[in-house]
């Protein structure tokens, strides 16, 4: 899909969520859905399989998200699945998150962790990243067991990596 189309979808989703008054929640949920979609090949293949009727794929998406996400998020994902643009879901969501952050004068900070962060940790991490980047950040936490331990934060072009995985890789290189 072209950048223009991605931007158009992102704008549409953004405006729906904003109109619904659930932008912060929807943005956060969509971000997690996008990351799950990226890391799960089976889910990706199923939702983008053109041989499966669109309404069936939408049903699958709704069933998957039904209990875990808000109704708006589920509907928006279903909309993208039904339009046949699900392969670009991560790009659409990233664009949406960036736009939402811009609206709030924030920089998106994508943080990967092996375990979930508590609200207190999120708050302190947001404050720390804001301090180090000099800009307010919109924290997005991705649970990624492959990092093993520690955190890696990507804010714009800056990467702050203190994960066990990276340390092991460095150790492996040194060996």
């Amino acid at each position: 899909m072209s950048t223009v189309k991605i931007e158009a979808y992102a704008t549409a989703l953004f405006e729906i969520a904003q109109a619904d008054g659930t932008l912060a929640l929807v943005e956060d949920e969509l971000f997690r859905v996008a990351r799950a979609f990226e890391s799960n090949e089976q889910l990706r293949n199923t939702l983008s399989d053109a041989t499966i009727p669109a309404d069936r794929r939408q049903q699958v998406a709704e069933q998957l998200l039904g209990a875990k996400a808000s109704n708006t998020t589920t509907q928006l994902v279903s909309l993208v699945v039904g339009s046949g643009q699900v392969r670009d879901l991560p790009a659409i969501v990233d664009s949406l998150v960036k736009r939402a952050s811009s609206e709030k004068q924030q920089e998106v900070a994508e943080v990967r962790s092996a375990v979930a962060l508590s609200d207190d940790q999120k708050t302190r991490l947001t404050a720390a990243l804001t301090k180090v980047t000099g800009k307010p950040v919109n924290l997005k936490v991705v649970i990624d067991p492959s990092v093993l331990g520690g955190l890696v934060a990507v804010v714009g072009d800056e990467v702050i990596d203190d994960t066990v995985r990276t340390r092991l890789d460095q150790l492996k290189t040194r060996i």
């Binding site: 331990g149 520690g150 203190d162 092991l168």
Partner: protein, 181 residues
């Protein structure tokens, strides 16, 4: 005279001799004369022929003697030549043997030198190969250790990373970022 001679002959008994050894005088005279005549005739008639034959024979014998002398001279010359050739052959043989000995000695010396060089080269190569093999083994061992370590380390680390440790790592990250790294 003839009458005397006939008378003499008639008075003589032909079956009886005057002496058991010597002939009758007349026989001696006539025989002697006859012999002189015959011999004279022979000398006169056959002498030149005999002389010629003897001269021819002498010449032939002389020729044969000369030929023999020439043959002897030739033979002697040839003998000298053969002896000289024999001497040359012996000299050549000696020269060739000496040359062969020299060449053999040179070959031997060359062979020894070459073998010594080859042995030295082989020893040097073997030493290099040995060092390379040592280095290789060492490198292979290091690579093996590194590979095993790279496999084992994440497993060990993952096994030791409990929730508390993970939480401590997160806290450490937040603190270090908050402190401005």
């Amino acid at each position: 005279m003839i009458a005397q001679l006939v008378g003499l002959l008639a008075s003589e008994d032909p079956n009886v001799t005057h002496h058991w050894l010597f002939p009758e005088t007349a026989e001696i005279i006539y025989g002697g004369l006859s012999s002189v005549v015959v011999i004279g005739g022979l000398i006169k008639l056959a002498g030149p022929m005999a002389k010629k034959a003897m001269n021819g024979r002498t010449a032939k014998i002389q020729k044969q003697l000369d030929d023999a002398a020439n043959a002897l001279t030739t033979s002697s010359t040839e003998a000298v030549g053969i002896r000289a050739a024999l001497g040359d052959i012996a000299g050549e043989r000696a020269r060739m043997l000496a040359e062969a000995d020299t060449q053999a000695a040179a070959l031997l010396a060359d062979g020894r030198a070459r073998i010594a060089t080859e042995v030295a080269e082989l020893e040097a190569k073997a030493a290099l190969d040995l060092n390379a093999a040592r280095g290789r083994s060492s490198d292979e061992l290091r690579a093996e250790i590194a590979m095993l370590a790279s496999i084992a380390t994440p497993i060990v680390v993952q096994a030791t990373l409990n929730d508390q440790t993970k939480n401590e790592l997160i806290e450490s990250f937040i603190s270090s970022v908050g402190a401005g790294r």
